[in-house]
Structures are given as C-alpha cells and as structure tokens.
C-alpha cells in the first residue's frame, strides 16, 4: 500500500489524537503534576507533527512519538533532580555499557558463553506478530536519548552528520550512541526471541 504524503499526514494526526489519552496518562504518572503533563504532551505532539516523519508507518510513528515523550519527561525529571524516577523510566547508558562489557573477556574477545549465536533463519521472525512486539519492547527500554539518535538514523534516514548537528553532539559520540543502541537491541532480541526457549548458561 502506497499512501500519498497528505493521506499519511492525516493518518498520523489521527494516531496522535487517539494516542493522546495514553500519553497523558503516562506523563501524569511520571510527573505527578497535571499541568506539566499537559505541557509535555502538547510539546511532544507539536514535535511529532514537525514534518520529518512523513513516511513512517503507524507502528513506527507511535514508537517515535513515545520516544520523544519519554525524552522530554526524562529531561524534566532530571531538571527537577528526580533521578530515582528517571532510573525507573529507562535503562541508564552506563547500565547498557556494563551489560555489553560483560560479554567480553579481559582481552576484549567474546566469552565462549556470550559469543553472538547463530540466529538460524531470522527471516522467519519477520513474519511473526510476536516478534514485532518483542522488537518494539526492546526499542522502548533503550535510554530515550539513545533511542532518539538510533531512530533518526534507522527510521528517519538521517545521515550521521545531520544527527550530530541537529542534537549538537560530536560525530564520535554519535557513533558510540549508535553502537550502544545496536548492541543493546541485538542483546535484547537474542534474549527475548532468538534464544528465548533456551536455558540461560548462568
């Protein structure tokens, strides 16, 4: 199905309207404050409509909008010094890096038990609805900032330079963030889907 950009835009507005109560509920729960919740959802909807996601399908658009919302809420909570709430809302970057480090021996080669496994024929997964639920869940536990950079690259098709300029981060930092997102997703999918039936070795 190939929608015109206009039809796609209307569909996205529809998604935003339908999604608004859920966003509000989430924002209220996190912020514990009605006025800020309204503001942050309003900001998110404006940012989402800003035009650069015209071609996203419904599922990816919702995930993208939710990532913007989460990013804004985390910023606000950090600003208020409420770090415990931030920690409950997303995995920390340090946390992810630590999880990645544990895959390696001291010499920076894979541990025999954590070496990336053969996923068999992963194409099969792409036809299964449950796979996409896991995929979405794995995206949603990425730190909001990490997820945002990753989605700008993979969903919105920005070049790395554009992302760096846009978010005012260095190119090397951008590469670090993208590597973190990809290895995190890889680990999450391996655990949540590809090896889900196996007993963990530890």
């Amino acid at each position: 199905m190939n929608m015109t950009e206009e039809a796609q835009g209307a569909a996205h507005q529809q998604v935003l309207v339908e999604f608004r109560p859920q966003m509000l509920k989430f924002a209220r729960l996190q912020l514990q404050d009605e006025a800020s919740a309204e503001d942050v959802v309003q900001d998110t909807m404006a940012a989402a409509l800003a035009g650069m996601q015209g071609f996203l399908g419904r599922a990816a658009f919702k995930t993208w909008v939710f990532t913007i919302l989460r990013h804004k809420i985390v910023d606000l909570l950090r600003h208020r010094g409420r770090l415990v709430e931030v920690a409950s809302l997303e995995r920390g970057e340090e946390d992810m890096d630590e999880a990645f480090e544990t895959l390696f021996k001291a010499n920076a080669h894979w541990h025999a038990t954590t070496r990336p496994r053969n996923w068999g024929d992963p194409e099969e997964a792409l036809n299964q609805r449950q796979f996409w639920q896991i995929f979405e869940a794995c995206l949603e536990v990425l730190p909001a900032k990490t997820a945002r950079v990753f989605m700008m690259r993979e969903f919105l098709g920005f070049e790395t330079e554009e992302i760096c300029r846009n978010l005012e981060i260095s190119t090397s930092n951008c590469h670090v963030v993208l590597h973190r997102a990809r290895s995190g997703l890889r680990q999450c999918l391996e655990k949540g889907w590809f090896l889900a039936g196996e007993v963990s070795p530890c």
């Binding site: 990336p116 790395t160 590469h175």
Partner: protein
Amino acid sequence: MLTCKEATHLMSEAQDRTLTRVQRLSLRLHLLICRGCRNFQRQMLFLRRACHLFRDRED
C-alpha cells in the same frame, strides 16, 4: 590484530560511514577467523532490515 570488541564498533560504524581501507581489511581478516563476530555482522544487517520493515508497518 583487531579485538572482537573493536570489531563490533567497526561493524556498527560501517552502517553509518565508509570505513578506511585499513579498517576494512582488518575487519575482513578478523571475520575470517571469528565466528562470533560473523554472527554479530549478520545480526547487524538483520537489524537494519528489521528497522526498515518496522518503519513501514501499518499496525
């Protein structure tokens, strides 16, 4: 000689920029002898494909 950890960084960066000739060669050499990294490489390509499919999904 590239470590596996370094190799994962190059495999990720290869999706965002053109690696230098030296980087490409050392990665290719590493992949020849490392099964874990070959799997990682395939998984990176799968991840990109999955992202593009997810981007276009309507449900």
